[in-house]
């Protein structure tokens, strides 16, 4: 039978917390995260899947929250930038970005860090070419990318040696 709906109940985990909400099927994940959950670390800029500032991880895989319907997150585990640090201790990727000055205005940073997280889960020791290739869909207008590459390398070293 066809099931036709205007609203959907979604039960998911966001940064480890259980969420149970009803959303209009037209709602984009970026709005659900920013407006309904007040997690404003996830940004929006291009709105067309090019810049990567809206990157979140859905079941570990990066997606553009600007072009992903929130109801699709039913049953999924979502990670946003707010879920990375434990208490006041930064995640090793966040720390590496700080140490390498890989963030200036910071607008691209949440997406960059989440994309890096999924890269390092896929490949614990990526070379620079792999890093550039994986992060090519995350744009940064400030740093010139070199500090970001260094930060990813540093983070991968630290995570491997931990």
């Amino acid at each position: 039978m066809n099931r036709v709906s205007e609203r959907r109940r979604i039960r998911c985990k966001v940064n480890g917390h259980d969420i149970d909400r009803e959303v209009p099927v037209t709602q984009l994940l970026v709005d659900f995260i920013r407006e309904d959950l007040n997690l404003t670390g996830t940004k929006r800029s291009c709105d067309v899947q090019v810049c990567g500032v809206c990157t979140v991880l859905v079941d570990g895989r990066p997606v553009s929250a600007c072009t992903y319907l929130a109801f699709e997150a039913d049953g999924a585990e979502i990670q946003t930038i707010e879920g990375l640090a434990s208490g006041s201790e930064l995640h090793p990727i966040q720390q590496a970005f700080l140490d390498e000055n890989a963030t200036q205005c910071g607008y691209c940073t949440p997406g960059m860090i989440l994309a890096t997280k999924s890269l390092l889960e896929d490949d614990a020791q990526p070379n620079r070419e792999r890093i550039r290739d994986y992060l090519k869909g995350n744009l940064c207008r400030c740093t010139g990318y070199q500090p970001i590459l260094s930060a990813v390398v540093l983070a991968s070293e630290r995570i491997r040696h931990d």
Binding site: N2, V4, S5, L28, L69, K136
Partner: protein, 300 residues
């Protein structure tokens, strides 16, 4: 912001087709949404119903019973295809093609069916599938039909899909013996400025070219097979000085005869130049792969 619409989740492909046929332009197939939602944001499309085809068992990659034909379900994502082909040496061209598509986020969400059904000329899969003489399987309220990829991609943003149609699979025929395929793409924007797919097959002597296929995409309204260029190479001895001469002829024939259109990616002249260079390079890669394949077969 998206205008109001409803999501329809059909229980089967047949139900999806019937719903689509009944609602006509008011309903659109919804897979990954990476193109559809963008078109809706821009108000280019305003469907009242999005018919979600992701839960109808249309995903996945399988071999036919003969073990050689490959069937790719329409809702298979680019990332799934990328991972599948990366671990199979015979499918390196598919891996190359899929790896180049968009960015990792679009590849996670976007499907092969959505890519083909949108008919965007600046795309990769249709070009490689043209070089392979692949077909697409379409299901409608009355049954199924298969169309060659060239009969499906008709023009920019125009396909053979009719109301009530759902693409259910892509079917790739077996590769000829002693053959190799290459896919090269180039571009400086998100989407490809050019994509070239070539296949070279060799005679049992492992040297003489028995068949070549050259497909060029993204420079014109749809992927195009360049038959006058293909025929330049047949019968050529691929291990001697004949080969570079024939490749040069084929590449310049392709550049002359290919349909190209100027746009934000470049002028007509620039694109013809790219066609020449990339057909040349892709033929060299395909030749090397065909030789490797012939050597593997001879060793068996």
């Amino acid at each position: 912001m998206l205008k109001s619409f409803r999501i329809c989740e059909p229980g089967s492909v047949e139900e999806a087709c019937e719903f689509l046929a009944q609602h006509g332009l008011a309903a659109a197939v919804y897979a990954g949404g990476t193109e559809l939602l963008l078109a809706m944001k821009e108000d280019l499309l305003a469907p009242e119903y999005l018919v979600d085809v992701k839960h109808l068992g249309l995903g996945g990659i399988s071999f036919s019973s003969s073990g050689r034909e490959v069937r790719i379900g329409a809702t298979t994502t680019h990332r799934e295809l990328e991972a599948w082909s990366a671990s199979r040496s015979q499918w390196e061209a598919l891996a190359e093609m899929e790896h180049g598509v968009a960015n990792v986020r679009v590849r996670n969400q976007g499907t092969i069916g959505g890519n083909l059904c949108f008919g965007e000329p600046h795309a990769d899969p249709g070009t490689l599938l043209s070089a392979w003489d692949a077909s697409v399987e379409i299901t409608d309220p009355h049954g199924r039909r298969q169309l060659p990829i060239g009969g499906f991609l008709l023009d920019e943003f125009a396909t053979a899909l009719a109301e009530g149609d759902v693409m259910t699979a892509v079917v790739i025929p077996p590769a000829p013996a002693r053959s190799g395929t290459a896919y090269l793409r180039f571009g400086f924007l998100e989407r490809p400025t050019i994509g070239v797919a070539t296949q070279v097959a060799l005679d049992p002597d492992g040297e003489t070219v028995s068949q070549t296929r050259i497909a060029v995409g993204a420079v014109g309204p749809r992927p195009e097979r360049i038959e006058p260029a293909e025929s330049e190479l047949v019968g050529v001895h691929s291990g001697t000085g004949e080969w570079p001469m024939a490749v040069a002829r084929a590449a310049s024939r392709a550049a002359e005869t290919c349909t190209v259109a100027a746009d934000a990616h470049g002028s007509e002249d620039y694109k013809r130049h790219l066609v020449e260079v990339f057909v040349w390079r892709a033929l060299e890669v395909a030749r090397a792969r065909a030789h490797a394949d012939a050597a593997r077969n001879a060793g068996q």
